[in-house]
């Protein structure tokens, strides 16, 4: 039930954003994500953005995953 899906912010109006969730456009409440900007990615859970996804951090994680020790 704690499923949250990455989505790209397409448009922002007050606390509401239009997001692209795997090709599906949906409205999401973004009041919990401060300074959300168009073009950024957020995690959507039950119609709310619960956090931004850090692009830099995602890239860093992928580098750690590829690491051979």
């Amino acid at each position: 039930m704690c499923l949250a899906i990455p989505a790209k912010i397409l448009k922002i109006e007050d606390n509401l954003a239009l997001v692209d969730m795997a090709g599906v456009k949906r409205q999401a409440d973004i009041r919990m994500v401060s300074n959300a900007r168009v073009g950024e990615y957020v995690l959507i859970h039950a119609g709310f953005a619960i956090e931004k996804i850090g692009e830099k951090e995602a890239e860093e994680t992928l580098q750690l995953l590829r690491e051979i020790i």
Partner: protein, 359 residues
Amino acid sequence: MKFVDEFRDRAIAERIVKKIERFDSLKVNLMEVCGTHTMVIFKQGLKGMLPKNVNLLSGPGCPVCVTSQEDIDKTIELAKDENVIIATFGDMVRVPGTNSSLEKERGNGADVRIIYSPSEALRIARENPARRVVFLAIGFETTSPLIAASLLDVQKEKIDNFYIFSSHKLIPPAMEALLESKEVRIDGFICPGHVSVTIGSNAYKFIAQKYNVPCVIGGFEPLDVLQSIYMLLKQIKEKRTEVEIEYFRAVHPEGNRIAQELIDEVFEVSDVMWRGLGTIPKSGLRLKRKFSDFDAEKEFRPKTKKSKENPDCACGEVLRGVKKPTQCKLYRKICTPEEPYGPCMVSSEGTCAAYYKYG
């Protein structure tokens, strides 16, 4: 899809498994607390990729599964009121109560509507001013902030026919209860990624420090889960007990402050009953007194006769990691997703459902 596909790379998965295999001297029980992790592990066949010395246990992180039988019975009583519309997330509908279920009541004419977001429950309330909408608020720290946000909207809009039945629960106290019971040995926790978005990694420090159990907060793609297992094994091997964040693209040590403030504004911590775990002190959220006008329990006072779980159903033991679904005498013989006897077979992320579908 960005942030998804790149975390499903098969070749990298195999490389992480090779790293995991190097810890072959460790025989460990690792618990994935979150039901969504359980689903990923089964659906992506991760269990089969792991060496035999790494045993994964599913924890109590499926909100529908841990809802007490009494709470299930109360929601069924609420649904019988013909002036009430029940708004709920899908999985609750088929959970068998002592004598009925929301699904059966719907067959008897009850108005039970499945929603995806609490904002839909608000819409139902606006569109049906003459009726009263009861939203079944279940879920952990991922979900409670949005319920709080919606309730603040209700208050602001002066909607007067909206109530919530709060069965919200908190994850860290449940982890502590499992450790205190000493029923199963847990050598490491894969902590729930999206609960941790809200509460942050600091919330688990006491688990690592007081109980000496390593914690890693993992994301939900296959590579995230495998890497979390690798990080736990590394901690165990190096005799470290820390809280590490694998899912740091979304989780921060201090969590999401706005979400925490929303919870604090609307809810207060209370003792609450969990299926399988009994009453755990300070493990639930109830509405604060200033929101009592929206409290379905206070408004409707649903009466339940003695709530009883099916005595043969092993959901409780499964939720504590004591039994595997295959050790339950109902599993597959008479308890199936088509005709479930316990919530762990109903919920899409219940351990029994995962075993049935992919086990």
